[in-house]
Amino acid sequence: MTEFAPVFGARDPDARGYYGPYGGRFVPETLVAPVEELTAAYFRAREDEAFRRELMGLLRDYVGRPTPLYEARRLSASLGGARILLKREDLAHTGAHKINNALGQALLAARMGKRRIVAETGAGQHGVATATACALLGLDCHVYMGAEDMTRQSLNVFRMRLLGAEVIEVNAGARTLKDAINEAMRDWVTNVTTTYYLLGSVLGPHPYPLMVREFQSVIGNEARAQCLAQFGRLPDAIVACVGGGSNAMGIFDAFVADTGTRLVGVEAGGRGIRSGDHAARFAGGSAGVLQGTRSYILQDDDGNVELTHSISAGLDYAAVGPEHAWLRDIGRAEYTWIDDKDALAGFQRLAREEGILPALESSHAVAHACRLAPSMPRESLLLINLSGRGDKDVLSIQEALR
């Protein structure tokens, strides 16, 4: 069943890794050759039937794919508009979509003969997924995590350690995801001959934005086939949260050519769109270069990157994936934001009306869908990518609701 596979090679950027004016490879000299080597290895792997078969087998038997497409009838009825569909990435092994990419890249690392893996993590879901993939494949795993994130996602820190990973605390900057990426890149540049950098989102230098999107494209490919099979037509709109943007790119990918389907990305509005209080790059940012790629970033007039805030660690980041910037420029996708308060309300609503605890990241998509649905016709289909489950967030939600 080819529809339940990642999509490879269908929408490549140009040879230098550009999506329009975004993307590229803005890396220190030492990383240029390794990034070229990685690109060549990835292009060979995605063409290799054996690699694809191995990945497909793991996605099915280990991750539990395909994840269901579920109609949220009670929520739809209470909103009184579009029929709400949930793509249940929260039911994937380890509790979020991150495992799709972590497994793909860990297989690639093993193929390249790199047994030492470094990764960054914000909410901890990518760290847990990487630690899981490394345990499965017998790789040595080191995860960099901001001290602030280690506090608010302490459960995931413990999970990574249980899985045999070393979690390294990062105390620079705001001590969140951006600082963890800086530190992971410093490790990579130092140990580049033995080490594979397993980046968790559609960020960083080419080929990462392409590779991560392709490993995540299984989400949209499944959802499109499931929607046609279960409802006889395509969704009218798709809503996904956007931190770096991997779950959103993963579900958008299969629908880019279906221009009748609106693609909506939801960024973190935090405490409101004021410098330092949010992570809505398209609302408060501008084009710039950060951590290997040219995209939209939150920065001051002098080009220094601004601090960000979101109740959700996974969305608390100053840059957005370059392909999102491009899809927005050409008018194919639209982007909006949801603040902390509304994200919490979205979380509670899905919990009470559907019996599902969404991750705080995914709660942003839920909250925006709750806004959108009442204005849509009753027979229309509104698909939410439920990128992860909220078990990891219950302590911080308890805190926030106090």
């Binding site: 220190p28 000299e29 030492t30 540049v189």
Partner: protein, 263 residues
């Protein structure tokens, strides 16, 4: 105006190893930086490298990260750095190379930057995260404004890319002596000399070797097979330790003479 080429010609004529000295602008503040630059030049540094502080210095080790934080805290920006250099340029004879990450320049705009940097008397620009493949239009702007685009070469750089950088670079080539981030080390990397020889096969440009250089013995050793040694973190450490002290400038001067073998 070819201050960088002249400086390397003078080094070669002197028979002494060349010294490139790096400091972060605005650490501890821009007024002090101006005095530090004058002192470096007066005490034997052949080329001055001025680092522009940036919020995310991912190619730097802890010493320069901290310097960058102190400089940002003191209100230093790319514009203010250029303005400081413009005002003090007549008092400094040595060539000045700006050492920066890409984003402050992207934010300012390549054209506006090239204009302001040339006006400030900058001789060369080195952008840490702008490899030759991404440098096309920016390199041309520098050349048009009579400034030298300086590229980095690393142990991982392929021969093909060494050729490319040698062809597009001017002034000198900056050779990264080891894998990793900036930071002082006890010894010169063993692979550095073969790397320099590999680059020599493709280029006649002067070669300055950096990353991990901290002692006069290193400078002498490097001088035997390269044109200059770059000292950054070790010098920044002196500034970190004595930044608030009244004898900072004397200490920087003494340290520079020690590195250059003049004391």
């Amino acid at each position: 105006m070819a201050r960088i080429a002249d400086a390397f010609a003078a080094v070669q004529a002197s028979g002494r190893p060349g010294l490139v000295a790096y400091v972060t602008a605005g650490d501890p503040n821009l007024d002090r930086s101006a005095e530090i630059l004058m002192t470096l030049g007066a005490n034997g540094a052949d080329v001055l490298e001025v680092g522009v502080p940036f919020s995310d210095p991912l190619a730097d080790g802890p010493v320069i990260q901290r310097a960058s934080e102190r400089a940002l805290k003191s209100g230093t920006t790319l514009r203010k750095t250029l303005e400081m250099i413009r005002r003090r340029r007549p008092q400094i004879a040595a060539p000045i190379v700006l050492f920066t990450y890409a984003n402050p320049i992207v934010r300012m705009g390549e054209a506006a930057f090239a204009c302001a940097a040339a006006d400030a008397g900058i001789d060369g620009v080195l952008v840490l995260d702008l490899p030759v493949e991404e440098a096309g239009s920016f390199r041309q702007r520098l050349v048009d404004a009579d400034m030298d685009p300086i590229f980095l070469l690393s142990p991982t750089t392929t021969d093909e890319r060494i050729r490319q950088s040698a062809e597009l670079g001017r002034g000198f080539l900056y050779v990264i002596s080891r894998l990793g981030v900036t930071g002082a080390r006890d010894r010169v990397a063993a692979d550095a000399e073969p790397l320099v020889r590999r680059i020599r096969a493709h280029s006649d440009l002067p070669l300055a070797l950096g990353f991990g250089i901290s002692r006069p013995e290193h400078v002498v050793e490097i001088g035997r097979w390269a044109d200059a040694a770059v000292v950054g973190s070790a010098l920044v450490n002196v500034i970190a330790e004595h930044g608030a002290s009244s004898d900072l400038i004397d200490r920087v001067g003494a340290y520079t003479r020690w590195l250059k073998g003049l004391s």
